[in-house]
Symmetry: C2
Subunit: 232 residues, 2 copies
Amino acid sequence: MASLDDPTPSTIDDPVYRTGVLELLGLLAYGEISACERLAEDAKMAPDLRNKVEIAAMATAEFGHFEKLRDHLVAMGEDPFEVMLPFAATFERFHRQTRPSDWLEGLVKAYVGDGLAADFYREIAAYLDADTRELVLDTLSGTGHSDFVIDAIRGAIDDDHRVGGRLALWGRRLMGEALSQAQMVVAERDALSTVLVGGVDHPGMDLAGIGRMFTRLTEAHAARMDKLGLAA
Amino acid sequence: MASLDDPTPSTIDDPVYRTGVLELLGLLAYGEISACERLAEDAKMAPDLRNKVEIAAMATAEFGHFEKLRDHLVAMGEDPFEVMLPFAATFERFHRQTRPSDWLEGLVKAYVGDGLAADFYREIAAYLDADTRELVLDTLSGTGHSDFVIDAIRGAIDDDHRVGGRLALWGRRLMGEALSQAQMVVAERDALSTVLVGGVDHPGMDLAGIGRMFTRLTEAHAARMDKLGLAA
């Protein structure tokens, strides 16, 4: 791991770093296409056309993110689908274990997932080379379709206070599943974790830094739950 | 109906014409959002990620069309969802009666539907005021994601010639259902048909013209089926 005196950023010419970046982009790209697919599925539970369109707009934004990541992978000379496929199982498992049972659960999942993904993108951006960082931050900047969720969830809790307790549990379960899948991905992928924790020749987070990152992600999640009127 | 000597185009200030335009835009907007929804549903049958992404790209393009139509309706001071809702039954009926039973039927439906919609947009554009015409042509210009369908269908027929017969029947059924729904919509909506056939103070198609339009749409459909390697 590089010392603080020598924070030379990695370059994409370093083969281990390059592999790690490819894994990261494959992970993000599969995450986007899979979010797009699940949102489209959840849109079917929408109580009316207006709500359906709001969710479809989020799905479309995720697809736009996917396209940016895919085009970048193509520009790197890679087959984006080959790079993405290793992450299929992770996301299929996550979505299978967090299938919303109704429209409100779908909204909370969309909102929590969107926010968590944006936070994660922002956190990792600092450890990437300039090109990849720009891509990741650019991908991130397209989110923010989910504000309508706040009104919908708060309105549902006003109508029936028991909804708040059920959705608070649901939010905790979503966060727990997300963290557990994230841990598995990192544990299975040396190059990917090297991008985050640093390798012999480039700086990264140390273990305490990773701990602090998880604390920040968890705190931001709690703040989002609070905005929805839900206990984290 | 205006004589050919006085082809003054209608203006949106004419209340009957305005109602007809609103109905037309509501019809198109519901068609787009409903196509987006069905494509997202059909994407689940995709044999692999690459094909899933191709269909998702078409769904996203339809959503982009919807957004343009919606924004235009908002700019006209209308609630887009109220304008769209009367056409829900038509599209739900169409999609219920043309539910693809497999991936290939889904592809043919996407291709045929995309092409037919584009042809119809182009046909009606001539009878609209300048603003609405620009919107309709602009909406149209975003399609064209469906070329990958040609290779997929031709490849499937090469693999198994019986597929061609089944999909040719399917294409005829799609066109039959589309025309029958279109006829019902026009029959039920006086203002909408006035936009097409013309009113006392603005030109439109005469009945022979409408007949010729249907002939052109049918011929273009046959050409598309031929591109797919299917008998129309």
